[in-house]
């Protein structure tokens, strides 16, 4: 579409005529942005590997863990604002989880009201555990129906990117790539597609 003639060319040029950033400013901006890569790389590189939980000592064996006592209770909750990455502190749950098997692909950890939780991502759901002993199961965020609905939708709604939110899980389903973010709410967490930030896929109240 060419309609530049509707705006005086001199005016259009003036609009674009912004003094370039100095090399130092540009490099500083880019360096700061690149520093954000580490969490994302970690998120995608933990699939099917030993999971690092909330502490260096918290190691959850993945390739064959299975967690019983899942709770599909997913009460609604207020819209949230931020996702935080937890401090790397806390005691180990390795003994509790060791030997159990699951189809979990990936784990992340979050801190909510001072309590650290482990999020174990599997196909269409996220199992949530308190990340410190006694490593209690809190419940499951089940987004499988939302995933199916999205795969079958005729037209995509306008995207609303979750700006500033770290992607906590990436996966492929039926040939399509998806990314999830975990949004903190006042009393729990909400899982959303990273490109549809206005829609809760599943919510879970945390103790």
């Amino acid at each position: 579409m060419s309609d530049n003639e509707e705006l005086d060319p001199a005016l259009a040029n003036a609009l674009r005529d912004i003094p370039p950033a100095g090399a130092a400013l540009r490099d500083a901006h880019i360096a700061a942005a690149l520093a954000e890569m580490a969490p994302s790389r970690r998120s995608s590189s933990h699939r099917m590997r030993i999971l690092t939980g909330v502490a260096a000592a918290t190691v959850l064996a993945v390739g064959g863990l299975s967690f019983a006592n899942r709770d599909s209770n997913s009460p609604g909750m207020a819209d949230g604002t931020e996702t935080t990455r937890p401090p790397k502190t806390g005691a180990s749950c390795a003994d509790t989880f060791s030997g159990l098997s699951t189809e979990a692909e990936h784990s992340e950890s979050i801190t909510h009201q001072g309590v650290e939780y482990a999020l174990l991502f599997r196909d269409g759901a996220v199992d949530v555990y308190v990340a410190t002993p006694p490593c209690t199961s809190v419940g499951t965020l089940d987004y499988s129906s939302s995933l199916s609905a999205r795969a079958n939708e005729a037209a995509s709604p306008a995207e609303q990117i979750c700006n500033g939110q770290d992607v906590v899980h990436q996966f492929t389903s039926a040939g399509d790539n998806y990314s999830l973010v975990a949004i903190h709410t006042d009393d729990g967490i909400s899982v959303r597609f990273a490109d549809r930030c206005g829609i809760d896929l599943a919510t879970l109240a945390l103790p």
């Binding site: 530049n4 700061a32 995207e159 990436q170």
Partner: protein, 189 residues
Amino acid sequence: MTHDELLVRRAQRGDQKAVDSLLREHYDTVRKVCHRIVINADDADDATQIALIAIVRALPSFDGRSKFSTWVYRIATNAALDEVRRIRRRATPHDDQTFASIPVADGSAAVDAQLDVSAALGQIPEEFRVALVLRHIADLDYEEIAVILDVPVGTVRSRLSRGRTQLTQLLGNQAPTDSRQNLDTGGQP
């Protein structure tokens, strides 16, 4: 596959050099978008930084359904608009003319022209300003702008038309700044 698409694929696999290349390739336009929406240079550079960080964080979620550049400028626009809202929140009642108070310099013609454009843009309603920036700086078409702003194409057309008219009126006459501020800056498309 375009150069951008190749870089994006590498970047999504965690290739830092690819991310660096993508950021450098789009840096100038991202910064221009932020500067023309935010107006104040320091705040605009803050918005630029926030936009770049948001791009890196969201890169894994880019699914290729839009052009990468469109996706980037959407993030830059949102970062700039967030910065504008932050400025408004911190502004006192006496700062209502924040965007219209760009000083008019008596230096070089280029600097004067630069300040004139900034001052004029600052007096144009935000929704018109954003449409102008996306069309004439990011070089997006109406459909792309409509997707970014989540409004119908007709609304984009209307906002651009009104924005162009106001910008031309503001810069086309040589009236002093005070009288320029009498221009109608309100209204919806």
